[in-house]
Amino acid sequence: MDYFIELLFSGLTRGSIYALIALGYTMVYGIIGLINFAHGEIYMIGAFTAFIVATVLSIYGFPLLAIVVVAGVAATVWSSAYGYTIEKIAYKPLRHAPRLSPLISAIGMSIFLQNYVLLAQTSDFLPFPELIPEFAFMEPVAHIVGSSDLVILVTTTIIMLILTFVIKFTRIGKAMRATAQDRTMAMLVGINVNNIISATFIIGSALAAIGGLLIASHIGQINFYIGFIAGIKAFTAAVLGGIGSIPGAVLGSLILGLTESFATGYISSDYEDVFAFSLLVLILIFKPSGLLGKAETQKV
């Protein structure tokens, strides 16, 4: 039973990590129907920004809390700037192009950003400072769920709740939903669609940056390539949960994380990806739009 609980928490942690990244994928897809492959790179850039800021601040001996807050804000702002710029440069000119064009543009952006960070920073792995301290009250259960696991779990839950609230009950959320439903009609009723799309990219990128900070602190190392693998898994999770749906992204991430964790624990970690992707295939066979996704009807 202990073993089961340990694996359960491992899975929840992994799932929450995926969810932090998957939320950005699903938001962008929900609004403009584009799979933003550069999202993993935004996460990586967030982690790098946090790394640089945190390293500099810790040299000057700032207290940990100040470092976390400043690094978090810097990473969020910087990543959002990247997200905003990428949308303007790589996606906006292609908004009326066939669907494949922005997809290829996104993949190109992803490769560009990876290599840009590789050249501008380093190809080496860098030690990420431990921004999440070991809480004393967690010590009795540290062998099951660690402090950084807890912070990631709580952050993911809070972010999901705030996002759901924003989208359901605020003006901008209503405008987002309108844009998602019908862009032309939204424009006709006076919604500035360009601003809404920019806002979506900014929010998605900010989430990725927070994810970057928390996950890098949890793993303890970063390099230019971390966004790619994490991005693939998060994208899988978003599809599993129903891409475009916010609770779906979280649900899909948790299911993916738990599957991997239990597959590792009870079968073999050699097969964790086999099980994760078999599950994806199975779910998509029976529910092509994902667990919480809405079946899309072709607009005529």
């Binding site: 073993y3 992994r14 792995f125 030690p127 793993i219 303890g220 190392q221 898994k233 590792t264 624990g265």
Partner: protein, 375 residues
């Protein structure tokens, strides 16, 4: 221009001299023909050329001192470009030239292709660099020796360390599913099981780049392992050891050359403390090694390249064996190599019955106060 003419003249003269002199000397039987085969051109030349330099340094020195038993040593240098199909020609050429012993080949594949030809001619071959385990362990090539540790040697070093020094009986073996890491882990598993002293309680591969390793760490804990042997490179090793410590799993962590890198200590930080990793035994402070490097710089004006120390040692061992055996006959040479120890830049070595050098190879290092310390 003048220089060019001189050089051409000189080399023509040299060729002529060799052409005239060689048959005469062969008939007289007073040179020892020392073959050097390996990649001397092409993209892997940087692995082969240092061996030629090493052989030349040792042989010049021995010849200047009057040769061995009054015989001068003559070098026969042949290029195999590291390609198995060319290596067979290289070997045939050397054999028909009447070579006595061969230093080479450089690459494992080329060595494997050439060995049957030398075996049929009963010629002793010693490689400074071919690490494929089967070359010695298969027993197919009784004429083959080497001065480099085979690929599985570090698995053996780690396993022996775990069994004899740390005295653990339950081991988890983890790898990164890559050629290097998985190969190492499989050797470690086999050696552990064959020893009969320990049980492999877990053998699994992790996915490199995964965001979280807590599930596999819980599994290691659940397996009751007393130590983890990890095959792979430092990025995954630092993630795993960090997660182990964070999950309060305090068992020992033993790994390979891919982890014995300062980046491991830099990235894993305090979590790396106490971890073990094997790596090539440090020979840079060996006086013979310092002397060999100095001689190389003097003669060639550059730092020696890959496998230089191994090739230098192999040449010393071969010449010593010829000296002690008093002939170049295969069985006599083998006996000399297996019984006589010799001081070389890679340490004081002799050879086992399979042809691997004893005394060369890997050591276990431990992270102590942020640096790798040889144990």
């Amino acid at each position: 221009m003048k220089l060019n003419i001189n050089r051409t003249l000189f080399s023509t003269a040299a060729c002529f001299l060799i052409a005239v002199a060689t048959p005469a000397l062969t008939h007289a039987g007073d040179t020892i023909k020392f073959g050097v085969a390996g990649a001397h051109s092409g993209d892997l030349a940087s692995y082969g050329l240092p061996t030629v330099n090493a052989a030349r340094l040792v042989i010049d020195k021995v010849n200047a001192a009057g040769g061995i038993n009054g015989k001068m040593i003559e070098m026969l240098i042949e290029d195999d470009v590291c390609k198995p199909e060319i290596a067979t020609n290289t070997a045939t050429k050397l054999v028909s030239d009447g070579v006595d012993v061969v230093l080479g080949h450089i690459c494992s594949g080329a060595t494997k292709a050439a060995l049957p030809i030398y075996k049929n001619a009963s010629i002793l071959v010693m490689s400074p660099s071919a690490t494929n385990p089967a070359l010695t362990e298969s027993g197919d090539y009784p004429n083959f020796f080497r001065t480099i540790a085979p690929d599985d040697a570090q698995a053996m070093v780690d396993v022996k360390f775990v069994l004899n020094t740390l005295k653990y009986t339950k081991i988890a073996v983890i790898h990164d599913k890559g050629d290097y890491g998985k190969g190492f882990a499989e050797f470690a598993k086999t050696f552990l099981e064959d020893s009969g002293k320990a049980e492999v309680v877990l053998f699994e591969g992790v996915t490199p780049g995964a965001v979280d390793y807590s599930a596999i760490v819980q599994k290691i804990k659940h397996s009751g392992a007393e130590a983890v042997i990890f095959g792979g490179y430092h990025p995954e090793a630092s993630k795993i050891i960090r997660m182990m410590r964070k999950k309060r799993l305090k068992i020992d962590f033993i790994s390979d050359d891919g982890v014995k890198d300062n980046t491991f200590i830099k990235v894993a930080g305090k979590y790396a403390e106490g971890a073990y990793a094997s790596g090539p035994t440090d020979t840079t402070n060996n006086p013979l090694s310092i002397e060999a490097v100095r001689a190389h710089k003097e003669k060639f004006n550059t730092d020696p390249g890959a496998f230089f120390a191994n090739a230098y040692s192999a040449t010393l061992a071969l010449l010593n064996a010829i000296d002690k055996a008093g002939s170049t006959e295969l069985e006599a040479l083998k006996k000399a190599l297996q019984t006589e120890t010799i001081d070389t830049p890679v340490g004081n070595i002799y050879f086992d019955e399979k042809g691997d050098a004893i005394g060369v190879g890997f050591s276990v290092y431990q992270v102590q106060d942020g640096v790798f310390v040889e144990l």
